[in-house]
Symmetry: C2
């Protein structure tokens, strides 16, 4: 019996996935959490064999939670289950020691297959996503660029961003310009969108 922990902020979906896994004779969902920052405690308490983590979650995102588990030397294998097969996500997941990466639009049986595979010590990657990640290459943005892109991407005015980061307005514009050049976009809106699309923010 493979003991599974499920982390996803959408309660109904979490229950649905639990129902799906419940149909498998060799899988048992032993814990469910709805926030990233509850993952570590739940793993400690229930000692699952496999943790299935969504990425977009309140508190702490699934990738950071996976990094945390890895750093603390947790025994359980981690499988990411996400809507967004963004290249940057896959990279970060691999770097965090994640062994499985499944998209929410993968075939129905794929999650159970991934869980079995990684529980056996193997890895499970969606071929499409892996190819996409290879093609996209590494994240070219620096930390400052990401930070400024994040802020301006939510509609924050340049002046406010500058104030928040204790920078001159010109400097903020310059980071945006650098990000735009790296991303091949001609304005901040496009730069933000493609950076997000790539999972680089």
């Amino acid at each position: 019996m493979i003991r599974v922990l499920l982390a996803d902020d959408e309660h109904l979906i979490r229950g649905a996935v639990a129902a799906l896994l419940g149909l498998e004779a060799d899988l048992e969902v032993v814990a469910e959490v709805g926030r990233g920052d509850e993952v570590a405690a739940a793993v400690a308490r229930h000692d699952p064999d496999v943790a299935v983590l969504d990425i977009e979650m309140p508190g702490l995102d699934g990738l950071t939670a996976a990094e945390e588990l890895n750093a603390s030397g947790a025994r359980c294998a981690v499988c990411i289950l996400t809507s967004f097969g963004r290249p940057g996500y896959l990279r970060r997941a691999m770097a965090a020691g994640v062994r499985g990466f499944v998209a929410k639009d993968a075939p129905t049986q794929e999650l159970a297959a991934a869980i079995r595979k990684i529980h056996g010590g193997g890895r499970y990657l969606d071929a499409e996503l892996a190819a996409g990640a290879m093609a996209a290459g590494d994240n070219p943005l620096t930390e400052r660029e990401r930070e400024i892109l994040r802020l301006t991407g939510t509609g924050t005015e340049t002046a406010r961003v500058a104030a928040l980061l204790h920078l001159s307005e010109g400097t903020v514009r310059n980071y945006l310009s650098a990000a735009m050049a790296k991303l091949g976009e001609s304005n901040r809106v496009g730069a933000f969108q493609t950076a997000r699309e790539m999972g680089w923010i």
Copy 2:
């Protein structure tokens, strides 16, 4: 036995929701589709009692599909199941004759409860979402404003937007200015984000 049609573009999630509903003795999933433009044909063929539609789908979004069903006088009741409880979505759904609206982060049992309720001729609305929709009020944007906001929101340069719509650049900027005023934002990025947040685009 209530016959249910399921429409969601995320294959694995669709299967999971089907598994969830399969646990209910009085519900039967008779058809699944992954695209909005396949909903009408599937309804015609399988004659379900209730159609559960996601909003974000390729081909045709769930709200438009619901409008289509309503216009064609289909017998089946429609329940929207979505990640995003945006006020504008709920409004459009109500206008389309949708009788149920459930968020993907609602409690696990809520979907089955909603299906039973609307199959019995009632309505089922998430109280939180309904309150939010009331508070937000109507969509203040005109069609032109929405169109231009959509385009600039994906990074398209003003000049290109103007060319696409056969307008002067000044006119494009003016529509954006109007949208910004209506949304209480001071730049196009913020305007796009809040318009999307509200489900007004």
